[in-house]
């Protein structure tokens, strides 16, 4: 202790305590009895009674923030957990109040006892629980960033907190980090938990030398095992015959359920229990942390290690609830592309049997079917998942926080992807717009929305892919009027609801903005993280220094270090993956932006987008090609034909031949999100070949010929243009634009007979007689 006399401070404390006690003893006993009965009412779901008691308490303890806090919580449950905004307001109010009271109390104490840092009223005005509840509410409203920023100060001082609260904070932070795909944050929290709560996870327990913690586990274990064996065999029998039909899986499910009932046991799974209901015995916590570790490894796509760790989790879980471990195993197989195995494990996990998790089951099964290209089944599953989510929400009375399992927005996002894959942009856009509540900070969702707009445009403008020729007059006076103007049907986009090119542009610029922001943060945090790693090293060194008495310490330190190493290495690998993906998304965003700006007749902006696309490092060859093409067109529209030509001639071989702008391999690699230096190769047949269609390399070469021909034609080099367009038409025989350009060149060369023949030979020309018919169509 320091120079001040400690005993006197304590003595004065005790004296004051004693006096307080004698005065308030009577009141205290009444209020604490009331408080107890309020709690028991709350726990048994009698919220009205609970509130009545709290009102009484409030009259006795006027404006006690804790009473107000509990009142707000009880009111919220009474209202069926629907008024989250109101709850937030009240909680924030309580928090402010207790902070004010706390500082007032501190001043008072200081005045009485100057210099002593006593903390008499620490508990009374402590707002930790309130803060946690605010964060929990934001979390359920899918406002993860807000929730996280509120928890941050608590996490900074987590060592001082009561253990149960500390664990709740940590788990909430972990779930937030997972929801935000924030591996860095996750590893920081996990590191702390590993150190603070993971002590004693060492080898002893695995050697089986520890005592059994609870005696009733033996019986539970056996029944659990038997039931999962049943499920296993059932799943096996249904899946061994390669048929992956949805019906079959469901039939197997029902079968399993029936047999399970005859066994007389349904595995009670832990997933539905709330944190506070769960007692955190060391062993529970160990399993929980192990499961989170697997989720981290899955998030960072470290599949190899995830496999090892999930096995470990299975071992720990054997004695207790293994549904989560099985679910993670299923996810691992899904990530590996072993869809059958994933499906089997998903069924075995048994999560479809609980109302709370059946939506999750259906969603995950839907993901598997999507990957298999079975969109019909996938869509059925996603809608089923959504239905079970909404029925969960309407469940009454609200005992547990049913919102917490409300994953409907995530499922809605999946649904959006599915609609996009099935070519239904309107429905897809609706889904993405709904899901944007959760994902609005992610650039990808904006790209997807823009894609919906563009798809709607293309779907609405099918006419555009044809040449319309008006046939006027009869007999010797018959004339063909090819006032080719494919954009006539632009008004057709009104039928696509709110989707439009300006919306696409807005979405894309949102996406680009968010992406740039996150790239900026990334480079910032990179600098910071090197700093913190350095600090860790010095810390470790110092702790090793004074570990003289602890012979085991080095051993354990090494083990902890291993854990940390694993986390760190997959973290940095994940960072690489993420930045590669960000680059891919950026390429896509810029290419789409250039396209949309061209469609919107903004050549200046289109040129800017195309140029930034071309300046990106390690740009995919496909996007380089698009960048050149868009830039060239924009330059033409800006009357800068020479520069336009320069973009096209990047692909020239000699005077008049083009090389392939990209190879099929480039496209395949791009489609699988991989680059040549990445060793992670997935079987390309498992992916959805239908997902993204694009010009074949030869067709792209044809486009180069056609565009150069168009450029040359405008420059009056009709003969050269003619040669180019002939090449183009051999590569793209029925291309509308190339045909138009060819007709133009023919006519400029005075060969209208050739033009006529060309038009009559092209299959994509429609000859439209007279005016009335045009109107009718």
């Amino acid at each position: 202790m320091d120079s001040r006399d400690p005993s006197s401070a304590v003595a004065s404390d005790a004296a004051r305590d004693a006096s307080l006690l004698s005065e308030d003893a009577a009141v205290l006993s009444v209020t604490s009895t009331l408080a107890k009965s309020a709690l028991s009412c709350f726990q048994s779901g009698k919220f009205e009674d609970c509130i009545d008691i709290l009102i009484q308490l409030d009259q006795k303890q006027h404006n006690d923030p804790k009473v107000l806090h509990n009142m707000a919580i009880a009111e919220y449950f009474k209202g069926g957990c629907s008024k989250s905004k109101k709850l937030l307001e009240e909680l924030n109010c309580v928090k402010k109040q207790s902070e004010e009271l706390a500082s007032a109390a501190r001043e008072q104490v200081e005045a009485v006892n100057p210099g002593t840092n006593v903390s008499v009223s620490k508990d009374q005005f402590d707002s930790t629980v309130t803060t946690l509840n605010i964060a929990v509410t934001w979390f359920h409203m899918h406002q993860f960033t807000k929730s996280s920023s509120i928890l941050e100060p608590l996490f900074q001082n987590i060592g001082r907190l009561n253990e149960t609260i500390a664990l709740q904070i940590c788990f909430l932070l972990l779930d937030i980090a997972l929801a935000c795909h924030d591996a860095v944050k996750f590893s920081a929290v996990f590191d702390y938990m590993d150190k603070a709560f993971g002590v004693g996870f060492g080898s002893h327990e695995e050697n089986g030398s520890t005592m059994q913690l609870s005696s009733n586990q033996g019986s539970k274990t056996s029944s659990l095992l038997s039931s999962s064996v049943v499920a296993d065999t059932v799943a096996e029998s249904s899946l061994c015959e390669e048929t992956l039909d949805y019906d079959n899986v469901l039939a197997a499910e029902y079968d399993a359920e029936k047999r399970m009932k005859s066994v007389g046991h349904i595995p009670a799974n832990n997933l539905l229990k709330t944190l506070s209901e769960r007692s955190f015995s060391t062993a529970d916590l160990k399993l929980e942390l192990q499961l989170y570790k697997v989720r981290f490894l899955l998030l960072t796509r470290n599949l190899k290690l995830a496999k090892r760790e999930v096995k470990h989790a299975m071992n720990i879980a054997q004695k207790r609830d293994s549904s989560m471990a099985l679910l993670l195993k299923s996810q691992l197989e899904y990530a590996h592309g072993n869809h059958q195995k994933a499906m089997k494990l998903l069924v075995v996990s048994g999560i479809h049997k609980e109302a709370g998790t059946s939506g999750i089951f259906n969603n995950n099964l839907g993901c598997i079917y999507y990957q298999l290209g079975k969109y019909e089944a996938s869509s059925q599953l996603f809608s089923k998942a959504l239905r079970s989510c909404s029925s969960l929400r309407n469940e009454k009375p609200v005992k547990t926080f049913s919102l917490s399992q409300n994953k409907s927005l995530l499922i809605t996002y999946n649904m959006g992807l599915l609609y996009l894959a099935r070519g239904e942009p309107l429905l897809a856009a609706q889904c993405f717009q709904k899901a944007s509540v959760v994902f609005c900070r992610q650039p990808l969702i904006w790209l997807r929305l823009a894609e919906c707009c563009m798809m709607a445009l293309q779907n609405g403008l099918l006419d555009r892919s044809e040449i319309r020729v008006n046939v006027v007059g009869k007999g010797k006076y018959r004339k063909l009027m090819i006032e080719e103007n494919g954009h006539l049907e632009l008004d057709g986009s009104t039928q696509c609801g709110k989707l439009s090119l300006p919306l696409a542009r807005a979405c894309l610029s949102n996406g680009i903005y968010l992406l740039n922001e996150s790239l900026l943060n990334e480079s910032k945090s990179d600098r910071e993280s090197t700093l913190s790693v350095g600090m860790n090293e010095t810390k470790e060194a110092s702790s090793a220094d004074h570990g003289e008495a602890n012979t085991n310490s080095d051993l354990k330190e090494a083990k902890g270090g291993l854990n940390q190493d694993i986390m760190q290495s997959s973290l940095s690998a994940f960072k690489d993956i993420q930045s590669r993906e960000k680059l891919l998304i950026k390429q896509a965003l810029l290419a789409n932006m250039a396209y949309v700006e061209l469609e919107l007749e903004n050549p200046i902006k289109a040129l800017a987008a195309a140029n930034s696309l071309l300046q990106l490092p390690d740009c995919s060859k496909i996007y380089v090609f698009l960048g050149h093409l868009y830039a060239a067109e924009a330059l033409c529209l800006l009357n800068r034909p020479v520069e336009a030509g320069a973009h096209l001639s990047a692909y020239l071989v000699g005077q008049d031949d083009f090389k392939l702008p990209y190879e099929q391999e480039d496209f395949d690699q791009w489609r699988m999100h991989t680059s040549s230096e990445c060793e992670e190769t997935l079987d390309s047949s498992t992916g959805n070949a239908r997902d993204s269609v694009f010009l074949k390399p030869e067709e792209a070469r044809g486009a180069l010929f056609a565009d150069l021909a168009a450029l040359l034609a405008t420059q009056g080099h009709h003969d050269q243009a003619k040669a180019m367009i002939t090449h183009a038409l051999t590569l793209l025989p029925n291309n509308v634009q190339a045909t138009v350009t060819a007709v133009y060149i023919d006519m400029m060369l005075g060969r209208s007979q050739d033009a006529l023949t060309r038009l009559k030979q092209c299959t994509r020309v429609s000859f439209v007689p007279g005016r009335l018919e045009v109107r009718a169509s």
Binding site: N363, L417, G473, G475, K476, A713, T714
Partner: protein
């Protein structure tokens, strides 16, 4: 760009225009004023556009019709200088086209007000037929195309769309005569004969004219650029959201509400301190008294199984005190004991266990695991320095002797294990002592 809005003429309008073109006996002034009264100025551009397209085809319109057509084009923009006329280039090229009638070319030069061609008003007083009839080609000289272009070209307004595709767009009709093979489509035999049956390949010029007028749009034919739509961004398997149930994060009831917080506060504060440093004797005494006064305090004094090791290291006495108080609650005590087993072996932890054995009856299982753990710790200490190992071995030996002497453990249960331990570390004096003790008990 070339996405011009469609300017279709109404059917009545095109009929009006057609009839005006045919009014070759009326003074052109009258024709033009009729044009003004019958057509709104908003449709002027569309009319001129159609007319200019038909004028490009030299056979579509006859001489008088062409004169009137040019007259209309001129008239629509006569309030401005000729160089602002959007159809200026067509007029210029027609004026210099040697294939056209000289009368028509001279008429155009008047319209353009070229040099001494300045009596437009006079000419427009004549009818088209009269103008052509009275035209004397010998009195006129015609400029070169370049000359005219120089005069007007620089000033020519290229219009609203001024990029190269639009500039080079082409308005041209393709002849596609539908006549039997081998027939000359230009022969008059294919014109509709009044009263006669229409024969194959015959066509009505007026019908074609009104068709053209009705169907024409503003656009022209320009080279088209191939603009591939970017491919849809591929869906990576991680974009499809696989969902894991998360922990159900519940709102927490604040159970500190109206709780008597003052009572335990001192003890809790002291215990937090006690996790980091050794407490003074008076502080230790305070804790002991408080714990004795309030038997329930031990459950919320802030010490949990996970914090126990720290407390053991700094304040073993207090740890013993707490563990003894917990003796009533089997489940919690088990958790605490598990923490003791798993913590690093040290003098303090052994002291705690030793003192605990005398205070309460501990589960046999626990003592057994603890001893096993002690022995394996000594063995594992091999890798580290000898001194530390010897020290640890001595501690364990003393600890075991104490346990044996106090009859806490039954030596038979652990005989083999302990014996092996003694033999392994026989170089340590205490181990030899323990060995002898074992022998005496045998």
């Amino acid at each position: 760009m070339n996405r011009s809005t469609t300017v279709l003429m109404k059917i009545e309008e095109s009929a009006t225009v057609l009839s005006l073109l045919k009014s070759d006996l009326l003074p052109m002034e009258v024709v033009l004023s009729q044009f003004n009264s019958k057509l709104q100025s908003s449709s002027h551009l569309a009319v001129c556009n159609s007319l200019s397209m038909m004028l490009q085809d030299q056979k579509m319109l006859c001489g008088t019709e062409r004169i009137i057509a040019f007259g209309i084009i001129y008239h629509c923009y006569s309030s401005q200088k000729p160089s602002f006329n959007p159809f200026l280039s067509e007029m210029i090229s027609a004026a210099c086209n040697e294939q056209l009638e000289k009368s028509e070319r001279a008429f155009l030069l008047h319209l353009l007000q070229w040099n001494n061609y300045n009596n437009v008003k006079e000419i427009l007083k004549q009818s088209a037929v009269d103008y052509i009839r009275s035209f004397d080609p010998s009195t006129h000289d015609f400029p070169e195309l370049g000359e005219l272009q120089r005069e007007y070209g620089d000033k020519a307004d290229t219009g609203p769309s001024s990029h190269i595709f639009a500039d080079y767009s082409l308005k041209k009709l393709l002849h596609d005569p539908d006549v039997p093979r081998g027939c000359d489509p230009n022969s008059p035999e294919f014109d509709v004969q009044p009263g006669g049956n229409p024969r194959i390949g015959s066509g009505d010029r007026d019908e074609a004219l009104s068709g053209l007028l009705e169907n024409s749009t503003m656009g022209g034919l320009a080279p088209r650029w191939i603009r591939p739509c970017p491919p849809r961004y591929p869906v990576h398997q991680s974009e499809l959201l696989w969902i894991d149930p998360d922990n159900k994060h519940e709102l927490v009831w604040d159970d500190k509400m109206c709780a008597d917080t003052s009572r335990g506060a001192t003890v809790r504060d002291l215990l937090v301190k006690g996790l980091k440093m050794t407490l003074s004797p008076s502080e230790q005494e305070d804790i002991t008294t408080e714990l004795t006064n309030d038997p329930k305090l031990v459950y919320n004094c802030g010490i949990t199984a996970r914090k126990l090791p720290q407390l053991v290291e700094h304040n073993p006495q207090i740890a013993v005190e707490i563990l003894t108080k917990l003796n009533n609650n089997k489940e919690i005590l088990d958790d605490f004991l598990a923490a003791l087993v798993n913590m690093d072996m040290s003098l303090h932890s052994m002291e705690v266990v030793n003192r605990l054995t005398t205070a309460v009856e501990l589960p046999k299982e626990f003592i057994r695991s603890y001893i096993t753990n002690c022995i394996s710790s000594c063995e594992n200490a091999k890798q580290q320095d000898k001194y530390m190992q010897n020290r640890l071995v001595r501690l364990v030996c003393v600890f075991l002797q104490s346990l044996i002497r106090n009859n806490i453990i039954n030596v038979k249960d652990l005989f083999i294990e302990v014996q092996a331990f003694c033999i392994e570390f026989s170089r340590v004096r205490e181990a030899a002592g323990l060995f002898r003790l074992l022998k005496t008990l045998e």
